[in-house]
């Protein structure tokens, strides 16, 4: 079956405007009687729930957190893109669109990406109006910085806490709607299934995490804004509780999962240090504005550093390899993430890694500190300042820019990054894949929508920095509130759904059986230990580089692990109480299925593009070798039953306005 993305007709630059002014809408008096469920209160969910509430729909909103403000979006550090062109440096909607399509290695839909670039400017307006304290210049206007893969400065930021401030903005708008009664908020409720009535999404089953009770909720439409699935890898930069369950349960009910193998490995994270480690910490990409990535040129030096016999500062300038600057002179340290990550891996594979495990490179601020120090001294009218003064002033500037990140680094590693370069290594960070959606953000299951990281829509095979916050808020504030109307306009006569219906009872029963079966195993191994093993398989065979042979092996390993899980997992307690281990067990069970699908997708895609690097498909210089003739499509997978192979549906990607070229950052 060919999938229909429902892209409106007309020229690219006018599609959204024309579509918006001609799409069916629901009259205000009818909205009050129409119920919408929004699962998730991250940027996408909170923005969607607040905006739908403002429009007058009766919204029910869910999060498994104790408060909507805790969603993982809170952790985003670096910034949010928008085509404001406040810097007068040649930015435009078109350029943001083009950068995003190219950054995604031509594996995203043109129309969606153009719309994203178009609404980006309104997001910044909205956030400022809510009181989001973005960084400002002395003149009182908004400040910007650069992120990877682009040559303009279009990233807005709020110190290193951009996600926090944007999420608090959305949370406040959501809180206002809760107070006004248009949003009914359900904290500590985990959605465990979608309820279909006549093939349409009409409700969910959620578990009250405090009492353990399964509860039924009906609505005319269901929106999933449940985030990404990076925690398949166990270790990632995602918050501990991020998981795939909501999306996977939708897949089990017929929704297609698109491009699941497109995973983003972020180049700058604190390297792993021990077996007990629970998560990896990101050091924001913004640091690559000023940090220079390097390893020693000589293996002896690298070894001496690994063994603690030498320090970074002992290595002479001429003995250092600033490998990104060397390999990619045009973009230097600001190449996109996939490129930077792979380059670090190559350096470490050659034996040049600088941490005891061999898996780490330097991110060095010494040049920036000196440069800033000199320029600050100049601006203060200090001529011929002493070196210590320069360093002192330079450190002040760097502190103002990245202070909290440096502090976080020091807290974790116990080392002072002002004096010694940071040690970093790539880690799993973001998932470009997700639920397949059309231009309306509707999945192939009617009435089931997906927004934010949990859909696949805008980033192709690689996401550019500062674009996830943009997409989450675009979906939530400016896209979904319109496009959901096209579906709901047909539902104005549909009465509210009675949750005593048989469909609800049957789905609830299935959920209960699933939980009971997890509790019933009463084996000997902890849930955590399975998750850790799954993560290792995924990282080793479906991580930064992949081969058909490795993937095939990994598939068998995952199947065996899954079998072991259902034979020998131990989940303490019962289903009728507050039971975090049971929550975790259910999530890991779903990860064990999702992981296999990611592997299948990676096996199917016989090309390298963006974050998906198949060793068999690379250029002589070691760059990704994309195959547009055979793989310029979205791979959307349909679940076919336990143990069955899923079916692949293809949505061809048609490029009318940009010409897919070899992505070069040299």
């Amino acid at each position: 079956m060919m999938l229909d993305g429902k892209i409106p007709a007309g020229p690219l630059t006018e599609k959204w405007t024309q579509y918006k002014s001609t799409m069916p809408i629901v009259a205000p008096n009818n909205k009050r009687n129409i119920e919408v469920i929004v699962v998730g209160t991250g940027l996408a969910g909170a923005a969607a729930a607040a905006s739908l509430g403002e429009l007058g729909y009766a919204v029910k909103c869910f999060t498994f957190h104790d408060s909507p403000r805790r969603a993982h979006s809170i952790a985003a550090q670096g910034g949010i893109n928008a085509a404001k062109n406040y810097r007068n440096d040649g930015d435009s909607t078109w350029r943001l669109f083009y950068d995003t399509i190219k950054g995604g290695d031509y594996r995203a839909r043109e129309a969606n990406v153009y719309r994203l670039a178009e609404v980006s400017a309104s997001i910044i307006d909205q956030a400022v109006a809510q009181g989001v304290p973005f960084a400002r210049e002395y003149g009182g206007l908004l400040e910007n910085r650069s992120f990877g893969g682009v040559q303009v400065s279009r990233t807005f930021y709020a110190r290193g806490q951009t996600g926090q401030q944007l999420l608090i903005g959305a949370y406040q708008s959501l809180s206002r709607q809760i107070a006004l009664g248009s949003v009914e908020m359900h904290n500590r409720h985990e959605m465990l299934d979608v309820v279909l009535v006549d093939g349409k999404a009409r409700g969910i089953i959620a578990r009250n995490l405090v009492t353990g009770k399964l509860e039924r909720f009906g609505a005319h439409a269901v929106v999933l804004a449940t985030g990404g699935y990076g925690n398949v890898f166990y270790l990632s930069t995602n918050a501990m509780n991020c998981n795939v369950t909501a999306a996977w349960r939708a897949v089990r009910r017929g929704a297609y999962m698109a491009n699941p193998c497109f995973t983003q490995i972020h180049p700058t994270c604190i390297p792993q240090y021990g077996e007990y480690q629970s998560k990896l910490t990101l050091m924001s990409e913004s640091l690559r504005n000023d940090g220079r990535v390097w390893v020693p040129k000589k293996k002896e030096d690298a070894q001496a550093i690994r063994e603690g016999r030498k320090k970074a500062t002992d290595i002479a300038e001429t003995d250092r390899d600033y490998f990104l600057e060397r390999r990619y002179p045009a973009f230097g340290n600001l190449v996109p993430r996939d490129v930077a990550s792979r380059a670090a891996k190559v350096a470490c594979d050659e034996g040049l890694g600088i941490v005891p495990t061999g898996l780490g490179v330097f991110l060095d601020f010494a040049s920036a500190i000196e440069r800033y120090g000199k320029s600050k001294a100049n601006s203060m009218g200090l001529h011929n300042p002493e070196r210590p003064k320069i360093i002192e002033l330079g450190e002040e500037v760097v502190k103002e820019k990245y202070g909290n990140l440096f502090e976080m680094y020091e807290k974790i590693t116990g080392e002072d990054p002002y004096k010694m370069p940071m040690k970093i290594y790539p880690a799993v960070h973001y998932t470009m894949g997700g639920l397949w959606v059309d231009y309306n953000l509707e999945t192939n299951v009617p009435g089931l929508f997906a927004a934010g990281e949990c859909n696949f829509s805008d980033h192709g095979a690689n996401r550019l920095g500062a674009s996830a916050l943009m997409q989450g808020l675009a979906d939530g504030y400016f896209v979904l509130p319109y496009t959901i109307g096209t579906y709901l306009a047909n539902d104005i006569r549909t009465p509210k759904f009675d949750t005593n219906r048989e469909e609800f009872a049957a789905t609830e029963k299935e959920v209960r059986e699933r939980l009971d079966s997890l509790l019933g195993v009463q084996g000997t191994q902890s849930v955590e230990s399975f998750h850790r093993r799954l993560g290792k398989i995924m990282w080793d065979y479906c991580g930064m580089s992949r081969t058909a042979e490795g993937l095939t092996k990994a598939r068998t390993m995952i199947r065996e692990l899954r079998e072991a899980f259902y034979k020998d997992v131990f989940v303490p307690g019962s289903a009728n109480e507050f039971n975090p281990e049971l929550e975790k067990a259910h999530r890991v069970a779903d990860f064990l299925e999702m992981g296999e699908l990611m592997i299948l997708d990676a096996l199917n895609r016989n090309e390298s593009c963006g974050g998906h690097f198949r060793e068999e498909f690379q250029t002589p210089e070691g760059e990704a070798d994309r195959d547009d003739d055979n793989y310029a499509y979205v791979a959307a997978w349909e679940y076919k039953g336990w143990g069955e192979d899923p079916t692949l549906h293809k949505e061809p990607l048609i490029f009318n306005d940009v010409h897919p070229s070899k992505r070069s950052y040299k």
Partner: protein, 253 residues
């Protein structure tokens, strides 16, 4: 890697109706672990012994989501200043230490289980008025109102609050003044938030009282324990805002 043998005394309480008690657990850790990873190790061993693991809350483990919350040796978020529980590392403890771990205690934060408490009172205070009334799509251009860098920066300092509740746990009166005043300040300092400032401060303070938080008696333990360095100056600002808002309404009324 040096291992340390520790004795943990942890508050165990199966639910709101259980009286609760401290229980003792030996655990082995090393200095590279985070405090929560040390608890992960304990829980893994409890599970392997088929016992009920200690319930505690956490998510980002980066000091930003505000989920983690424990009183460690009498201090909310433990001994290190400007640090959340999840950012605390074991290198600040030593072999042989006994560590007492309890939940954040306040009438307005009832215990759900062990170290997990209910902090929804904070959400309800925000719902009472901690926002700017602007619908999606109503905003003017973001650069239409310049804001002095210094002012924006002070608003940011207040907006850095992560809603963790340590201020309440630190206060002998379990007052929520620091949390509430941080939001009042954040919004009152910005032109966008000024318009509703009077209404906001009254509504939020009223809700705070309704939730059963205590009065402020200027102990300033909140500031000392706040992981995000929220200043008690915010409380002074809130008091001024509150006073002027009530005066204003009396004049009008």
């Amino acid at each position: 890697m040096q291992t340390m043998k520790l004795t943990l005394k942890i508050w165990r309480q199966s639910g709101p109706n259980d009286k609760g008690r401290l229980e003792t657990y030996p655990v082995e850790a090393n200095e590279h672990m985070s405090f929560l990873e040390m608890l992960d190790v304990l829980n893994e061993s409890l599970i392997n012994d088929r016992k009920t693991p200690v319930a505690f809350e956490h998510d980002c483990r980066e000091g930003i989501c505000g989920t983690c919350n424990m009183v460690i040796n009498g201090q909310p978020h433990g001994p290190m200043g400007g640090t959340t529980t999840c950012q605390l590392h074991m290198r600040h403890f030593k072999d042989g230490d006994t560590i007492v771990i309890e939940p954040f205690r306040a009438r307005a934060f009832p215990v759900i289980r062990d170290l997990v408490v209910d902090r929804e009172a904070f959400d309800r205070i925000i719902q009472a008025g901690g926002y700017v009334s602007v619908n999606a799509g109503q905003a003017q251009d973001a650069n239409a109102i310049p804001i002095e860098k210094e002012t924006a920066s002070r608003a940011f300092d207040a907006a850095a609050c992560i809603g963790c509740g340590a201020c309440v746990a630190a206060c002998p009166n379990a007052s929520a003044m620091l949390f509430v005043s941080a939001k009042i300040s954040h919004l009152a300092l910005l032109p966008q938030g000024k318009v509703e400032a009077k209404k906001r401060v009254q509504a939020m303070v009223n809700q705070m009282d309704l939730e059963g938080f205590g009065m402020c008696s200027n102990v300033t333990a909140c500031e000392a324990e706040c992981p995000k360095g929220i200043s008690v100056e915010n409380i002074a600002r809130m008091n001024r805002e509150y006073l002027s808002s009530t005066l204003g309404s009396e004049v009008q009324g």
